[in-house]
């Protein structure tokens, strides 16, 4: 957990996902897999063995026909800040293979450092961390579509959503080369944000007043997943449906309605 080293103001990249707009189409998942060289196997129906950095969950309201309702909830890595960067996973990694960056607020994962103890997976309540149970195998010829920007992971290591950190690095290189001080909002966007055909995902610096996420996170219907646990996630959700907001966290029976929280 290294402190900010650069002179620019520390950024806190985060996401706001509008669940009213999300159609559950899965384009974000495919874009993410294509961007990040995510492997695939013949049978991916056991979701506990399937690597999907961005997983779209299906929530149901539990009511009977025809009052049943469903809502899709895309779940990237939450890049939890915890208290002062003490995210659930970073502090437990024995080999410093995952780190919380105070420059960007991004929780990184160093695949070549990870030796596969999976403690971080046990620590994460969002199941954003995936273990490579198998060697990644591409059918002959398909390795041609692998992107050189993201290293291919080997068997036996943990991987997860990086907020497309390589895109940040590429964008920052350009910024430095051009001698500018700051990265513009549209210069660094994650693959899922870019792909989302419903424009449900907004990505940006949660600290920056000029970024769309800054305002969206204070939407009265905004909430975060499992806020009560103190994970302090950087992914916000918006839903106009109360039952959806209520499923964002655990509540005791006698606890009242879900109200907007101070951020």
């Amino acid at each position: 957990m290294k402190k900010a080293q650069e002179h620019t103001a520390p950024k806190k990249y985060g996401m706001v996902i509008d669940l009213d707009k999300c159609t559950g189409c899965g384009a974000c998942m495919a874009a993410c897999m294509a961007e990040n060289n995510v492997p695939f196997r013949e049978d991916e129906t056991d979701k506990n063995l399937s690597i999907t950095w961005l997983r779209v969950y299906k929530l149901t309201n539990g009511k009977k026909f025809p009052n049943a309702d469903v809502c899709y909830l895309p779940r990237p890595c939450m890049h939890c800040e915890g208290h002062h960067g003490h995210s659930p996973c970073v502090s437990v990694c024995p080999a410093t293979a995952t780190d919380y960056s105070y420059d960007t607020g991004i929780v990184s994962q160093i695949y070549t450092r990870c030796f596969g103890c999976r403690y971080c997976m046990a620590a994460c309540p969002y199941h954003v961390r995936y273990f490579n149970w198998w060697d990644p195998v591409w059918p002959e010829g398909m390795e041609k579509m692998l992107s050189p920007n993201v290293s291919v992971r080997t068997r036996g290591v943990v991987e997860k959503c990086s907020f497309c950190f390589h895109r940040y690095q590429i964008a920052m290189e350009k910024v430095r080369y051009e001698g500018r001080a700051e990265l513009a909002e549209d210069e660094y966007q994650t693959a899922c944000t870019q792909a989302c055909p419903a424009n449900a995902i907004t990505f940006g610096d949660l600290n920056n007043h000029d970024h769309a996420v800054y305002k969206l996170k204070t939407h009265p219907d905004a909430f975060r997943l499992l806020e009560r646990l103190g994970t302090n996630p950087k992914v916000y959700y918006i839903s106009s449906r109360e039952w959806v907001r209520r499923q964002g966290d655990n509540y005791l029976e006698n606890e009242g309605k879900v109200v907007a929280k101070a951020h």
Binding site: E44, M142, S147, T154
Partner: protein, 756 residues
Amino acid sequence: MNIARRSFLAFLIGGAAGTALSPLPWKLTDDLSIWTQTWPWTPVPPDGEYSYVNSVCTLCPGGCGITVRKVDNRAVKIEGMAGHPVNDGGICILGASGLQLLYGPRRVKAPMRRVGERGEGKWETISWDEAIAAAAEKLEGIRSAGNPQGVACMVGDRYGTVPSLFERFMTAYGSPNFMSDAAIEDSYRITLNLMHGKNAIPGFDAGNADFVVSFGSGVIEGWGSPVRMFLAHGKWKDENKTLVQVEPRLSNTAAKADKWVAVQPGTEAVLALSMAYVIIKENLYDKSFVAENAAAFEDWRDDEGKTYPGFKTFVLNGFSPADASKVTGVDPSLIVSLARSFAGAEKPLALCGRGKGNTPGSLHEFMAVHALNGLVGAINRPGGVWAIDVPDYVTWPKPGLDEAARAGLEKPRVDGADGGAYPYTESIISGFADGVNSGSAGYGVEALLVSGANPLYTLRDAQAVRKAFDSIGFVVSFSSYMDETAAQADLILPNHTYLERRQDVPAPFGLNMPVIGMSRPVVPPQFDTRQVGDSLMGIARKMGGSVGDAFGWESYEACLKETMGAAWETLEKDGILVKADYAPEGWGEAFNTPSKKFQFFTGAYRHGENKDLMSQMKIEGEAADFPLILIPYDSMRLASGPVADTPFMAKTIEEDVLIHDDVYVQVNPATAASLNLREGKVAELTTPVGKARVRVHLSEGIGEGVIALPTGLGHWANSKYIAGKGVNVNRLMSPVADPVSGLDAAWGIRAKLARA
């Protein structure tokens, strides 16, 4: 004795200590850990020069602009093209994983001839000259034996140069049996033909509508141009517009809608007419449009003085909310409030065509829904339905016909799309199998050319289709992939994939402006494939005579360039040609019916007085034997057209859809309880045309007595990432010919479910 043993021990201990103190173990440990970081069998993607190529995606009729990221000569990522009029940077799941088709394991890498039994999978690779000669020889043989009509052709899309080349080939060759894949676009085209008097395709100004009633259309499940509809849906949410979904099942669209109206399956048209009842009864319709620009609203009289009931009479005599409620299961008060809200909205819009719109559907239903648009004047105005002229840039002179061709073209069509029964329909691909099997055309089908379609998978009643295929002696596939149809072919002349070829992409379905796109070679051809236009021209030229003469172009590209004329340059540069200032014709000029007005369907039929105007589409099977109704459902995550799911898409199939190789059938808990079935149990699903092993998934999103299966599963050819998983619902369903169009209008089939 002790001396020797002690020296040995000392040697061992000393050796071990020495090794431990040397750098060797540390070096080895380090090397091993480095080795684990880059195992030789784990690929390391080479870096290189980055570039971006704009093109058009043709994996569905959506026509999205794409930007492909390349590293040297490798395409590494497909993204939506920012600023494109259709998708503005967005992309769907299929489009985003398109590279897995390009580089996928099921590419047909060179022309191939079958050597084993059909479907056995034994092929020999042949040269292009051999392949073209083989096709030409066979076709020439059939032709000279006097049976040119015995050659049929199926294409995927209807418009553009490639389908037109096939059509031209069939004409010059002398066969009437040219067919294209059918979808709701065909039903809409006939609807517009009958109600507007125009040869037009529908454009929906969906983004600007403020109250949308969708009669089962999967607005966010791939209906229309999918990404465009997603964007419209997002806009409705932003602007607090209303979406009402009329559908028997809690689809994603229903879940996202502001109101889900759970209707009895197959009764959507009745609900639409009942809404019309309320609108007319309460005088809520657009009076100026109806009075000045519509015909057959009031009772009318033909030239011979015979009186016909108008739309008003028709609707008021039988579609009261109380009556409709009995059929549709929708509460009368809900029908009334829905009708009032619809008519009261500033820009209401009614849509139809179920799910993704892969099945044409009942023409009555289309006309009933379109009548709602007529009642509120949502025609050719912002937020409404626009009639866009069909693409007409292919303006080649007619081919010269020899005697054989003229004789062949006189023969009846195998699929039954002849003037008599179905005067508005060009081809009925769903009627082909029946036509072949029954021999109703009076001649045998000896050869079939398939391009851009996968009929063995996509057509309903797969057994009948398979039977028809088995009886056809010579099947040529032009597929880029070893799909179900290619696997059953005798000869494959593989096309480039859409990322390797140049081809025009006309008019995305549902777009309310005339657009032509151009897909172009993003990467050089990966294998020994050929643009299908060139293959076809090669066959024609090899055959020579008037068939060869019909294709005077040097190459497909020359043909394309000539066809595009002045537009070529723009298309080459931008990849798209947009008529930016396009506006729909005003109500005064919009209609080309005999009355020059919008015709309510009571006046639209020129032949159909005897037909029961509002009979519900009956599906196959009797309730006594098959107590349940099976309906198919579509999902963006399951490609259900000619192209199957990519491995990435297969990863996203939900856990309540597929488990290992078993598909879940959605069943209401009450229905399941009555059948003694529990969650996850294996069951046998039987319909009048087939049976399948399924697993039960209890869902409150579906009503009692109705069960649902996803489309897009049950591939048997294709890659191991999707083949062998689940059931092809088309195998369990049977097409039902619409009485007006003859197109497949089956919205379901009767079924039974029992413990296995």
